[in-house]
Symmetry: none
Subunit: 422 residues, 2 copies
Amino acid sequence: MIYRAAILAVGSELLTPIRIDTNSLVITEQLERLGIEVIYKGVVGDDRREVAAAVRIALERVDLLVCCGGLGPTDDDVTREAVAEVLGRVLVEDERIVAQIEARFAARRIQMPAINRRQAMVPSGASVIDNSNGTAPGLWLEEGGRSVLLLPGPPRELRAVLAWGVERLLEPRSSGLALVRRVIRITNRTESQTEETVQPLYGRWARQTIPVSATILASLGQIELHISSRAASREEAQAVVDAAAREVADVLGLDAYSVDGHPLETVVGNLLVERGFRIAVAESCTGGLLASRLTDVAGSSRYVDRAVVAYANQAKVSLLGVPESTIAAEGAVSEPVALAMAEGIRSSASVDVAVGVTGIAGPGGGSTEKPVGTVAVAVVVPGEERSKTFRFVGDREQVKFQATQAALDMVRRMLMSSSPSA
Amino acid sequence: MIYRAAILAVGSELLTPIRIDTNSLVITEQLERLGIEVIYKGVVGDDRREVAAAVRIALERVDLLVCCGGLGPTDDDVTREAVAEVLGRVLVEDERIVAQIEARFAARRIQMPAINRRQAMVPSGASVIDNSNGTAPGLWLEEGGRSVLLLPGPPRELRAVLAWGVERLLEPRSSGLALVRRVIRITNRTESQTEETVQPLYGRWARQTIPVSATILASLGQIELHISSRAASREEAQAVVDAAAREVADVLGLDAYSVDGHPLETVVGNLLVERGFRIAVAESCTGGLLASRLTDVAGSSRYVDRAVVAYANQAKVSLLGVPESTIAAEGAVSEPVALAMAEGIRSSASVDVAVGVTGIAGPGGGSTEKPVGTVAVAVVVPGEERSKTFRFVGDREQVKFQATQAALDMVRRMLMSSSPSA
């Protein structure tokens, strides 16, 4: 039975100031689902001695060690060797894996480079987990009541191998206790405003037979409340968390835009589909990010008609029909220009919903009156139009993100106050 | 003398699927500057036994252990106790710290909560590092040639204490060796193809008086080669790394698009500025991501004119002048349509450089002939036009990213083969 796990990420790049292990988040999510607790995480470089030491230490402390990374074809990929050494296994070439890797390259009309044969080396006694998204298979080893799962580092490959490993190897060995989490996403409030509203619920949640714990995570443009519970069955934990999520949604009202972790673009997409509306957007300072977020949603071609990024003033005039006089009188960053942009694209695209965004993302271009971070957003829906000016803090990319977040939230609120068409 | 370090982040939230330790990046940056190598990183929860075990293990392996987090006032802040236990010290209340914390609260006209006295508990023999941004002071301990630095977890507080600790404690104990790193970014090759080309350099680099080490990082649409070197002075290390970067650039030729870690949009932006060109893009499946990447670069308003996201076929016709007959004959995802999109936006925007991208990002919309991931890209520069069809793997967002990467790379290669205007 597996109760306690450790995760070891292998890769010298993960020990630099420029890159961080995020695979462990995906792995933790899967382990938590099975009620397996992660008691520590480690990161080591591509150094066989260090990897071996870390593996040895971990196996003294946990039932399951999940390693990710270091299964590539190159000399600095040493996880296979290090684990084999610690468990006293020899590495043997697996002909079936060689054939699979060759086939993968053949499908792309490339001959398999000789170095890829290294990926077919398997510690004796290991089970091989096919990798449908790459050449490095996963490996599963057991030794003295402990288990070791080796996963490839590239996230797509890791997910594929992990999914298979969870289903066939971990689920049968897990205790049955389940942890369920839910993410509530919030706009229009600061972290402390959210905390003040939600805190009265915490005490009761803590005293319940199956307690619920909560934590608030804040970043620019987004507040998240994470609630979780652990119970004998997934269903029990889920019921408790669902009830808590409903209480949160009640106290936060419209400010909670998702109670199941969906991003704002998905929430807006669902509203557009429900109402049978199509959308077009006219962007300046967000530079295409608003359109890109809308089209990140699978199936968005049903409701996204077009977007125009009018970076140059001339583009605002010729593509969107913004009157030159409005730009001259109000400035390119102004609510009248944002409205003219939205109206321009709505009429040229013949859509129901249109957005105009114009602002100063920085670092240059600010003034005393309109500092960097000033963004005007306008939204037009059937029967209503609104515009609003924001002042965001942060760097260029943060201003871009917050501006798209504000625009999507305006669309959401306006669509929610208009009733769905029959 | 401190050569090897480990970083231990303490906090149960860092073992969940939703939050990750990023403090270690800041700490690593400071340690690298002093030539101190981080050989591993760990994360443990707010559990005194686990923290103590991790501290004990680390002190067997490194000269310096940096812990962050767990210095707060609440019961689950256990780092002080755990470290004192491992080093066999008793905790003593430090009256000077009590007074400082009281003063901090007094300045906010709040009486110091009793629990904050815990933050004044100091392991005997520890040096106290004032925290100008919070109530938890940093602590420095030495034992048997090993050093332990305890930092508060909140990033602002950590930075303040770390800066002081680096200057007064670490710098005098560091070897004076400096580490320099450089990131070379590559397109148009697989990880193994890159490795095969670069590998012949590794041996020589390893045998140099000042050796250079290298590691390859691969993700969809992007290969990175990280090279680094450690020398008696920053200048020496820099010179060696610069020379190695030049060698890599030589063997990879045009496939190395940046030898100093810049993203492709920055490289393309610089080429546009050099040549005095303006750019406009017409996107379909990338949904605005290409424009968003181009405009992520500060100052891009100098050369980005406009972008059109023509998601609906009708938008391709009306906004970009793509002939309906071309769409009917070739399909919306085809090189002739990509070319017509590029040409359409080039003539309406009167720019020098134009891009057209059309494809199937998935998950729906694929066919046997044109499966999900099929993307046609066309680029027009003065005197030349090119189009190419790609087949990308991955999910919707990965296809979008790879398509923008391919488009930017085509622009880059075509601009490089056209000479800069005088």
